[in-house]
C-alpha cells in the first residue's frame, strides 16, 4: 500500500514537469535524439519545484496540507498542460516516445563492442540505482545537517499541516512559541516540503521513506545528462558515458543513500539549468529559455548558495549573445566582482553564515587531496584537467565558449568561497569542500564529454587517413 501511494504520488512531479515543458512553444518537433530523456529528467526537476511552489501557495492562503488539496489541482493543471502540448503538436509526443523506445532497444544504431558497452552501462546503472533505492528506503535519516536543519522543518510542517516560520534564538525567545528554531532557520523550504509531500502520501511520518525525492533526483540527473548531451551533438555512447560518470560519482551516490542534504538536488538543478541555457543558445527555443529561467529560480529556493550558482550562468549567456565582445564583457565583470570582493571584505561582511575576509589562505594541499587522492570523485578532476589541456585550442570557440565560461565562473566561485571566506577552514577537515564541489561536478562531467568530443573531432580532422585513390 505504501509503495502504491508513493509510486502514484511521485508520478505527479514527473508528469507535471514534462507536461509543462511540452506545452511551451517550440520550433522543431520534439523527435530530436535524447529529447525524451531530457523532457523526463528536466521535467522532474521542474515538476518537483512547481509542486513545492504550490504547497507554499496553499500555506500562504491558509489551506491545510493534505493529499487532495495538493494533488487534485496539480493533476488538473497537468491535464491542461498535456492537452496544450497535444494541440501544439498532435501525435508528436507518442511518436517521440516510440522513436526513443526503438532507439533504446536497438542501442541507437550501435554495433559490436559499442553495443556491448551500451548495454553494459545500462545494466551497471540499473544495479547502482537498485542498491541506492534499497539503502534510501531502509535507513532512517542519518547525516548531521539532515536532522539539525532540513528535516526539522519537514517534521514541524507535516505535523502542523502548513509552513510555520523558523528563526534564530533571539526571535524565538521573543515570539513566545510563535516561531520554531533549528540550526539554520533561514534555509529555503523546497527540500523540506518535498519530504512533507512524501509523508502526506504515506499518511505518516517515516524519516526513511520520505527521502524518495533524492533517489528520483539522481535518476533525473542521469536523464538530464544523457538528454542534454545528446541535444548538444554528443554521440549516443558519449552521452551515456556522461550519464554513467555522473551516476557513479561516489559522493553523489552517498548523497542519495544518506539522503537529507540539499546539495545533490542543487547540483542536479544547476546542471539542468546550464544545459537548458546551452540548448537555448544552440536552438533559440522558447521552451529551453523558460526551462533555464525556472530552473535558475529553483536554484535559489533549494539552498542559499543557489543565488551565486544561478549568477554563474550569466557569463555563459553573455558570451553566447555577444560572441565578439562577450569575452571582454565577462572579463570586465570578473574584474568588477574582484574589486567588489576586496571592498566588501573590508567591512567584515557575513554572507550565508560565512565571513568574507581578505586573508587569502586556501589549503591547496588538502584541496588536492580531496580532488585527486581520496575516493570522492573517482577520476573526474584528472579527466577534466586532461581534457582541458587536450582541447584548449577549442575551449573558447563558439561551440564550447559558453560552457567553458560557466564552468570557469563556477570554479571562480568555489575559489572565492574557499580562498577568501571562513569556509577555507572546511577544506582542511574535508567537510564543506566536497559538498560545495558537488554542486559543480555534474557540469564538469558535461564539460569533460563535450570538450573531449571537440578534441576528438579536431584530432580526427588532422590525422584522418586519406581516402584511397
Amino acid at each position: 500500500m505504501d509503495a502504491l501511494a508513493l509510486i502514484a504520488g511521485n508520478a505527479l512531479p514527473w508528469c507535471l514537469g514534462a507536461a509543462f515543458l511540452l506545452a511551451l512553444p517550440r520550433r522543431a518537433i520534439a523527435d530530436n535524439a535524447g529529447e525524451v530523456a531530457w523532457t523526463a529528467g528536466a521535467g522532474y526537476l521542474l515538476g518537483a519545484f512547481l509542486l513545492t511552489v504550490w504547497m507554499r501557495v496553499l500555506s500562504l492562503v491558509g489551506v491545510k496540507f493534505g493529499v487532495l488539496p495538493i494533488v487534485a489541482p496539480l493533476v488538473v493543471l497537468t491535464a491542461v498542460l498535456a492537452w496544450l502540448a497535444w494541440r501544439r503538436a498532435p501525435g508528436a509526443p507518442a511518436m517521440t516516445m516510440r522513436a526513443a523506445w526503438h532507439a533504446l532497444l536497438r542501442s541507437p544504431g550501435l554495433e559490436g563492442a559499442a553495443r556491448v558497452a551500451w548495454w553494459s552501462a545500462l545494466a551497471w546503472l540499473a544495479i547502482r540505482f537498485t542498491l541506492l533505492a534499497v539503502e534510501v528506503a531502509t535507513r532512517p535519516l542519518y547525516p548531521w545537517d539532515a536532522w539539525t536543519q532540513w528535516a526539522t522543518k519537514a517534521r514541524v510542517w507535516y505535523e502542523l499541516g502548513g509552513i510555520a516560520p523558523f528563526a534564530r534564538v533571539a526571535a524565538w525567545l521573543a515570539a513566545n512559541g510563535g516561531v520554531y528554531f533549528d540550526a539554520s532557520p533561514e534555509y529555503p523550504p523546497t527540500m523540506p516540503l518535498l519530504q512533507v509531500y512524501q509523508s502526506l502520501l504515506l499518511g505518516r511520518w517515516d524519516d526513511a521513506l520520505m527521502n524518495g525525492s533524492w533517489w528520483q533526483t539522481a535518476i533525473a540527473l542521469a536523464l538530464v545528462l544523457y538528454g542534454g548531451l545528446r541535444s548538444l551533438r554528443a554521440s549516443a555512447l558519449a552521452a551515456l558515458a556522461g550519464a554513467f560518470l555522473v551516476s557513479s560519482l561516489p559522493l553523489a551516490n552517498t548523497h542519495v543513500a544518506l539522503a537529507g542534504y540539499a546539495d545533490l538536488p542543487l547540483a542536479a538543478t544547476y546542471v539542468a539549468a546550464a544545459l537548458a541555457l546551452l540548448r537555448w543558445i544552440a536552438a533559440r527555443d522558447v521552451r529551453d529559455a523558460v526551462g533555464a529561467l525556472v530552473l535558475a529560480a529553483a536554484l535559489t529556493q533549494i539552498k542559499n548558495p543557489g543565488w551565486f550558482w544561478a549568477a554563474t550562468l550569466v557569463p555563459g549567456l553573455v558570451v553566447a549573445v555577444w560572441p565578439h565582445r562577450g569575452a571582454r564583457i565577462v572579463l570586465a565583470g570578473f574584474a568588477l566582482a574582484a574589486i567588489a570582493l576586496v571592498a566588501l571584505a573590508r567591512f567584515q561582511l557575513r554572507l550565508f553564515n560565512y565571513d568574507l575576509r581578505l586573508t587569502y589562505a586556501p589549503a591547496w594541499g588538502d584541496l588536492a587531496e580531496s580532488y585527486f587522492l581520496l575516493g570522492n570523485w573517482h577520476l573526474l578532476w584528472y579527466g577534466a584537467l586532461g581534457v582541458a589541456c587536450l582541447a584548449w585550442r577549442r575551449l573558447f570557440e563558439p561551440g564550447l565558449a559558453p560552457l567553458t565560461t560557466i564552468v570557469g565562473a563556477g570554479l571562480m566561485f568555489l575559489f572565492v568561497v574557499f580562498g577568501f571566506t571562513t569556509a577555507s577552514y572546511y577544506i582542511t577537515d574535508q567537510t564543506t569542500v566536497n559538498r560545495a564541489t558537488l554542486h559543480l561536478a555534474p557540469l564538469v562531467v558535461v564539460f569533460l564529454i563535450l570538450a573531449w568530443q571537440s578534441f576528438a573531432e579536431d584530432w580526427n580532422a588532422r590525422h584522418a587517413q586519406p581516402a584511397a585513390a
Binding site: I127, P143, W205, Y382, T428, Q430, T431, R435
Partner: protein, 368 residues
C-alpha cells in the same frame, strides 16, 4: 611491478618479518576521559571533559621490534585537534610515552615507530588522547599494529584498497575509497598506469602512422580506470546495503530508530513525548554532546525546541517561563532538588520546577 617496487622501497623494518598484524578493535577500549558512545563496531567520541581532553585506552602485549607501524583507524577529527598516541612499555613501566598523530583530511595517519627510542621492549598498553574542539563526533574503529615487511606492505596496500568503508558521520562530506588512510591511493596508481599504457600505445601507433585513434584510446583507458575504481565503490556499496538491511530491514519507523546509534536517547524521548502536552510545548534541550542535543531536538519536533547546535551552553534562567520544559540528557552542571522542586542550570539562579520523567543521566522537567 610498480607495486612491488613500492613495497621494497617503502618497507620499514625487515623485508620478511615473522609476526602477524594485530588489530585492537574499538570494543577493547575503555573511555578514561571525556565521553564516547558505540557507533557500530567503532567508538564515537562525542565530547571532551572539562579540561578539553578525551582519552581512550586498551591493554595489549606485543614486542615493539615486531611492530614498526601503528595505524589508528579514526575519522572526523578537526584539523586543529591535538591527537596523541600514548603507550607504556615493560622497559619503563612508569613512563607514559607520547607521539603526535598527524591528521590527514580529518583522518589519523599511520605512525612509523621504527627508530623511536621509546618504542622498546614490550608494549603493555596503548591509548589515544584527543585535545581540542570536537564539532561532530570523532570516530575510532581501532588501532592496527603492523609488522611491515614486503609481503605485509603489499597486503596492506591491497587491504587498504578493498577495506570496507561503512557509513559514518563524515561520509556525507568525504569518501576515502577504502581504508581511512592509504599509503598509496588507488586513483593515483590508476592514473600513472593509464598514462604509461597510453604512452606505450602512442609510440606503437606513431611507428605505424596510425595515431588517428588517440581520442578513442584516451577514452577507453580513462573509462577502464574509472570502472576499476567504480567496481571497488560498488562492492563497498553492496556490503553497506547488506549491513543496512541487517540493521534496519523489515522494521517500521519506530523499530528502526530503536536499532539506530542513538537508540537509548530515542527511547527516552518517546517516553518524554508521552508526558508532554499534545500541542507544541516549548522545550529547552541540554546535553554535553552536540550530537545528542541535536538528535534529542530532532526526535522532539513538532514540539517547539530550543537547543544550541554549536556550543555546550545552558539556557539563561530568564528565558524559562512557567509551562516550559527542560530536557536533560547526560549534562553535567544541571541540578534538581526533588524536595524543594528547584532546578539549577549551571551557576544560574534556581528555578521552580517539577520532575516529569527521570532516568539515569536523563530527565524531563516542567518549569512551574
Amino acid at each position: 611491478m610498480g607495486l612491488a617496487i613500492y613495497a621494497l622501497v617503502s618497507v620499514p623494518g625487515t623485508w620478511f618479518p615473522g609476526a602477524s598484524t594485530q588489530f585492537v578493535g574499538a570494543r577493547a577500549f575503555t573511555v578514561s576521559r571525556g565521553s564516547a558512545v558505540a557507533d557500530g563496531d567503532a567508538l564515537a567520541i562525542t565530547a571532551t571533559d572539562a579540561t578539553g581532553l578525551a582519552l581512550i585506552a586498551a591493554n595489549v602485549d606485543v614486542r615493539t621490534l615486531d611492530y614498526p607501524i601503528v595505524a589508528w583507524q579514526g575519522s572526523g577529527f578537526p584539523a586543529n585537534a591535538d591527537v596523541r598516541f600514548l603507550w607504556r612499555t615493560d622497559y619503563a613501566p612508569n613512563k607514559l610515552n607520547s607521539l603526535p598523530v598527524p591528521i590527514v583530511a580529518g583522518r589519523l595517519a599511520p605512525l612509523t615507530m621504527a627508530g623511536n627510542p621509546e618504542w622498546i621492549g614490550r608494549v603493555r598498553g596503548v591509548a589515544l588522547a584527543v585535545r581540542g574542539p570536537l564539532g561532530e563526533p570523532a570516530r575510532i574503529a581501532g588501532v592496527t599494529l603492523a609488522p611491515g615487511g614486503v609481503t605485509g606492505q603489499l597486503r596492506d596496500v591491497l587491504g587498504e584498497w578493498s577495506a570496507f568503508e561503512p557509513w559514518s558521520g563524515t561520509s556525507i562530506n568525504t569518501i576515502t575509497g577504502g581504508a581511512e588512510v592509504q599509503a598509496l591511493p588507488l586513483p593515483t596508481v590508476l592514473v600513472v598506469a593509464g598514462a604509461i599504457a597510453l604512452a606505450a600505445w602512442f609510440v606503437l601507433a606513431w611507428r605505424r602512422r596510425e595515431v588517428a585513434g588517440l581520442p578513442a584510446a584516451i577514452g577507453v583507458v580513462f573509462l577502464a580506470a574509472w570502472i576499476v575504481l567504480d567496481t571497488q565503490w560498488a562492492a563497498n556499496l553492496v556490503r553497506q546495503v547488506v549491513a543496512t538491511r541487517v540493521q534496519y530491514g523489515g522494521k517500521d519507523w519506530r523499530a528502526s530508530h530503536l536499532a539506530a546509534e542513538d537508540a537509548p536517547l530515542f527511547a527516552f524521548i518517546e517516553k518524554a513525548r508521552a508526558k508532554l502536552p499534545p500541542g507544541p510545548a516549548r522545550v529547552f534541550v541540554v546535553a554535553d554532546a552536540a550530537y545528542f542535543r541535536g538528535r534529542a531536538a530532532y526526535h522532539l519536533y513538532p514540539h517547539n525546541v530550543l537547543f544550541d547546535p554549536f556550543a555546550d551552553t545552558l539556557p539563561q534562567p530568564s528565558w524559562l517561563k512557567p509551562g516550559d520544559y527542560v530536557l536533560v540528557w547526560h549534562r553535567r552542571g544541571v541540578q534538581y532538588s526533588a524536595s524543594e522542586h528547584k532546578l539549577r542550570l549551571g551557576d544560574g539562579e534556581p528555578i521552580a520546577a517539577e520532575a516529569v520523567l527521570v532516568e539515569p543521566g536523563a530527565a524531563l522537567l516542567k518549569v512551574l
